[in-house]
Structures are given as structure tokens and as C-alpha cells.
């Protein structure tokens, strides 16, 4: 129904702005209708700008900025409607060290409400986890799982 969508959108706008500014340490966001007069027929556009920069097309954002903006939008959706578990496959790949730290802080906060399974190559994300699964291929072409409880693992130098 139209009311429900508009109410959800209102909540999403606030959530997106909050998550985005946490991940970017500032900046501005806006969600706008696109297309026809009927909001349930039209589309939704994301306007976002990192701190200090002028709002421009999302196309001009860097690879890392786009990944973080998309993550902010998804976390905002999760905020207004949590999911029992969330599975993320290498979403931290294009992020620099500073952004990975902020992303991990957000991850840990949301993980209080939902289970998170994150596939990653990033040491910082690995360190932010509570539990670790290592996947290896001692026999070519056949996956083997090794599980490690993080509390028992000394942090590699």
C-alpha cells in the first residue's frame, strides 16, 4: 500500500543517513522518487556525497566510495527490517584500511541482532570476527574446511 511504502521510505531515509555518515565520517544523503507520479510505479534514486565533496552523480564516486555507499544502503534496509542472518561475500574488497575499520565497527554492532557470515581476504575483517572458518584445498579441486575459534588464535604479527 502507498502509505506503508511511504512510511518505510521515511524510516529508510533516516537509517541510510545515519549509517552513511557513520561509515564516511560525515557527508550527505537523500533518497528521491524518480519516474511517474505514482510512487509505487516509479523508482528510487540514491543521492549521496562523502564529507566535504559536492553532491555529484554516483557514477563519479570512486570504487571504494561506491562499495561503502551500497553497503550503507543495505545496512539501512537491515536496520528497518532485520534479517535473521546476513551473508556478505567480499564486500570489503575495494575498501582502504580506514574504511574497513569503520565497516567492521558497524558489522559488530549489527551482529548483536543478526548472525553475520562474511567471506573476506582482509585481515582487519578477519580480526573483527568472533569465529573463523578456513577453507583450503589440500587435494586439488576438493574443498576442505578447517574451523578455528578466534579466542584461541594468537594475533599474527
Amino acid at each position: 500500500t502507498r502509505e506503508r511504502y511511504l512510511r518505510t521510505l521515511e524510516a529508510l531515509r533516516a537509517a541510510f543517513d545515519e549509517v552513511f555518515t557513520r561509515l564516511f565520517g560525515g557527508g550527505t544523503t537523500s533518497l528521491q522518487f524518480s519516474g511517474g507520479d505514482d510512487v509505487l510505479e516509479g523508482g528510487l534514486d540514491i543521492i549521496a556525497q562523502p564529507p566535504g565533496k559536492k553532491p555529484q552523480s554516483l557514477l563519479l564516486l570512486s570504487g571504494g566510495e561506491r562499495a561503502l555507499t551500497a553497503a550503507a544502503f543495505l545496512f539501512a534496509l537491515l536496520k528497518i527490517k532485520p534479517s535473521p542472518f546476513v551473508l556478505l561475500d567480499e564486500v570489503d574488497a575495494p575498501l582502504d584500511q580506514g574504511n574497513v575499520q569503520r565497516f567492521c565497527a558497524l558489522l559488530r554492532e549489527f551482529a548483536q541482532r543478526s548472525q553475520f557470515v562474511v567471506i573476506t581476504h582482509n585481515p582487519a575483517t578477519t580480526e573483527a570476527a568472533d569465529f573463523l572458518y578456513g577453507i583450503a584445498m589440500p587435494e586439488a579441486g576438493v574443498s576442505k574446511m578447517v574451523s578455528v575459534r578466534l579466542e584461541e588464535v594468537p594475533v599474527a604479527a
Binding site: I46, P84, V118, T126, A129, A140
Partner: protein
């Protein structure tokens, strides 16, 4: 509701029966390129009823069955079992524990079960509708897929918001 465990056998590179237990909080899955991490994500999507082979990086549905290596023969079927703790009653079933199973044979025959009782694929899909985890939901983000949220058509993004409504 939370995930308890995932069991794989014959699914892509998981030729041998493998069991992953899930704890609360953040679980990181790490390993070298090609070791099978995204294959685990594919298995979760598959057992929850994914029907698009493109989302599973395959062409034909049998692409998910272990195809063999130089030392091992291909297997005859792939199966995955995903177990949830349902004591909160999120899933409309009278069980504290719910296990979703999916099996696919090389012949093309499929087998679907909820707590070992045979059902149809659509029963599984409908079970998870509105939980945030079902097909097309935003709770599973595949490798390279996060940018799609920004490059998607405006209408698709609106649909995503409607799902959260």
C-alpha cells in the same frame, strides 16, 4: 531465528560431506582463491530455493554437482541441508528446529525436504518469503554484487524497499 548449521555433500567443490556450525555474532570465512568460499554462499542460496543458474555462476542446473578432478570421479548428486533454530517461531512451523534440504541428481531429478518430509521447491520459497532471507532478498550479497545496489534500475531499488516494508 538463527542459523545453526549448513551441511554440504557433492555441492561444487565440496565433494566430501562437510558441516559448518554457525555461532552468534560474526563468522569470517577465509582461504585462498578458488578454495570454495563463494561455493558455500552459493549452497546457502541454492538450498533456500534459488532457481537462477546465473546467480549460482552456472549454465545448466547440474553445474552444482561435483564434476570430478584428475583424481576423483564426478559424483551423481549434490545435496545441501540448512538448519535453523526456530524457537522464536519466525517460520510458521511447529518445530523448534527446521532443516531445509535440497538434492539434485545428474538425471535432473530434484528432491526437496523440510525436516525430512518431502515437499515442493515452492514450499521452501514460500516458507522464507517475508523473512528477509528469501530469493531476491538483501540479506545475501554475492561476490561483486554490492555495486548492483547503486547501478540497478530505480524501479528495482524501489522493489527492494517494498520488500523491507
Amino acid at each position: 531465528m538463527h542459523l545453526k548449521r549448513l551441511e554440504l555433500c557433492g555441492f561444487k567443490t565440496f565433494a566430501d560431506r562437510t558441516e559448518l556450525e554457525f555461532m552468534p555474532g560474526v563468522t569470517a570465512v577465509v582461504g585462498p582463491n578458488g578454495s570454495g568460499k563463494s561455493n558455500i554462499a552459493d549452497a546457502v542460496q541454492w538450498v533456500l530455493g534459488e532457481q537462477s543458474m546465473r546467480s549460482l555462476r552456472g549454465l545448466s542446473s547440474q553445474d552444482v554437482i561435483f564434476a570430478g578432478t584428475h583424481r576423483r570421479k564426478p559424483l551423481g548428486f549434490a545435496e545441501a541441508h540448512l538448519t535453523f533454530d526456530n524457537s522464536c517461531g519466525t517460520l510458521p512451523l511447529p518445530f523448534d528446529e527446521v532443516t531445509i534440504s535440497r538434492r539434485l541428481f545428474r538425471s535432473g531429478e530434484s528432491d526437496y525436504r523440510i525436516n525430512k518430509v518431502s515437499c515442493r521447491l515452492r514450499d521452501i520459497v514460500e516458507l522464507f518469503l517475508d523473512t528477509g532471507i528469501g530469493a531476491g532478498a538483501y540479506a545475501i550479497i554475492g561476490q561483486g554484487e554490492v555495486d548492483a545496489v547503486l547501478s540497478a534500475k530505480s524501479e528495482d531499488r524501489r522493489a527492494l524497499v517494498e520488500e523491507a516494508a
